[in-house]
């Protein structure tokens, strides 16, 4: 019976878990990018790219976070992220690890396109 106090609206609705489920994550995108741009693996998350990023001043684009998403197999946020970069390459000039950042975005966009066409 429904409660008159509204207690039925309280509590344990089924929400999608916020947890990164590493074991069921999709590694195909990561493997695609790593094999085509091996310098991707060198990122140590300093954020220099994002600090200097032209797109990041006006949109939520964040290359450092995007790299982390790819590494964790979090594909959903990636679909939008890759469309925001203008490929200006300023991030290339600051990266202390020598990651070919611009190409990481280009290859990630390619991976997403292939994923959507079931070609990955």
């Amino acid at each position: 019976m429904m409660s008159a106090t509204g207690a039925n609206k309280f509590g344990f609705a089924i929400n999608r878990s916020r947890m990164i489920d590493y074991d069921s994550s999709d590694r195909k995108v990561r493997e695609y990018i790593t094999s085509r741009e091996p310098s991707f693996r060198l990122c140590f998350a300093c954020g220099g790219c994002t600090a200097t990023c032209t797109a990041g001043q006006h949109t939520s684009f964040n290359l450092r976070r995007m790299n982390t998403y790819i590494r964790r197999g979090e594909i959903e946020p990636l679909r939008e992220e890759v469309t925001r970069c203008m490929l200006c390459g300023k991030c290339l000039l600051v990266c202390p690890r020598g990651v070919n950042t611009r190409n990481v975005v280009a290859v990630a966009a390619e991976a997403i396109r292939k994923l959507e066409r079931n070609e990955l």
């Binding site: 140590f44 300093c46 200097t52 600051v94 990266c95």
Partner: protein
């Protein structure tokens, strides 16, 4: 029966060289200490106070001066060691100016050079007045005056970690080890000197590896209210109010951040000394990919050069703090004595 004491030449009169020379002299060896500057003391001469306890640098300087003042030590200044070569009778040493010395053994203690901050042009050292290095800041502490170039009192200072370290763009992938804790020390000193001045440390990782370093980091937050932002500064500029503006990503907030500063302090790292690199090239010492001298074995032979009678001490082999430098110099002395007695 009295024998003629054996002769050891020490190349470099910084912390490692002074300690090694002193320890050998105390044991009765005859020592020649060769220093390229006007006086022995090395980079320590520029320092005001030391981490982690902020003791006056002068205390360690006096200890080392006393050590190197032993009557068995002959100090030659304004001279560099150009080349060493082992031969059956000992080690032939060529000094700058072409003079030659004969030694029974040589300890190489040529140390490090500080990273030249001009090379990170995007930080504006030498371009903007209020961009200084960690060494410039120590000089201000020595003078007892901490002010902007125009003589006004700063209200916000930023310390930028890893300048010239962990940075492929300047060909230094190594960590200089001591800059993180130096930044924390200097941040505290700024807060004590100017209690109304805000201090921000911009770091990529906080490497508090030594005894009482983590405690100092904690104290900086708990007692001195030092702020820490995780992100590598990408560039600095000057705005219309003649204040520095830096761009960084606050990686923990996940958003780009800009901040105005009155003074920006670049925590310059350590590189293989140029004089040491020249000596290495002329003498056939191996250098690692980080250009520091590569010893016989990283774990149990890190004073050994691979050349008979030649040993390494201190930061010519890797970035080190003073404590480790002194220990490393003593170990070099132990290896040298073992060799001379064999």
């Amino acid at each position: 029966m009295k024998t003629v004491p054996k002769h050891v030449l020490v190349a470099g009169g910084g912390v490692a060289g002074m300690e090694a020379a002193g320890a050998l002299a105390e044991m009765g060896y005859r020592v020649t200490l060769v220093e390229k500057g006007d006086d022995p003391g090395g980079h320590l001469l520029q320092w005001h106070a030391l981490f982690p306890d902020r003791r006056p640098a002068d205390e360690v300087r006096s200890y080392l001066r006393k050590r190197a003042g032993h009557h068995n030590i002959n100090i030659i200044t304004r001279t560099t060691v150009e080349k060493v070569r082992h031969h059956p009778g000992g080690v032939r040493v060529i000094l700058s100016g072409g003079t030659e010395e004969e030694a029974d053994a040589v300890i190489v203690a040529t140390g490090f050079d500080l990273f030249d901050a001009h090379r990170k042009e995007e930080y504006g050292y030498g371009i903007y007045d209020n961009v200084i290095t960690s060494v410039d800041l120590e000089a201000m502490f020595n003078r007892g005056r901490l002010e902007k170039a125009d003589g006004t009192v700063p209200s916000r200072i930023g310390l930028i970690h890893c300048v010239g370290s962990r940075d492929e763009k300047v060909n230094n992938n190594h960590c200089s080890k001591v800059c993180c804790v130096t930044a924390v020390k200097q941040a505290i000193e700024i807060r004590q000197m100017l209690p109304s001045c805000e201090v921000f440390c911009f770091y990529m990782d906080m490497r508090m590896y030594g005894p009482y370093y983590e405690e100092l980091y904690r104290e900086s937050q708990e007692v001195h209210n030092v702020n820490f932002i995780r992100g590598k500064v990408s560039e600095a500029s000057v705005n219309i109010n003649n204040r520095l503006v830096i761009k960084v990503e606050d990686t923990l907030a996940g958003r780009p951040l800009k901040m105005e500063l009155d003074i920006m302090v670049l925590m310059v790292g350590m590189e293989m000394a140029e004089s040491g690199a020249k000596l290495a090239e002329a003498s056939g010492f191996r250098q690692g990919i980080n250009r520091f001298l590569e010893s016989g074995d990283h774990h149990y032979g890190n004073n050994l050069s691979g050349i008979k009678g030649v040993f390494y001490a201190g930061t010519c082999t890797a970035p080190m703090n003073i404590t480790d430098t002194i220990s490393h110099a003593r170990a070099a002395v132990a290896e040298t004595v073992r060799y001379l007695k064999a």
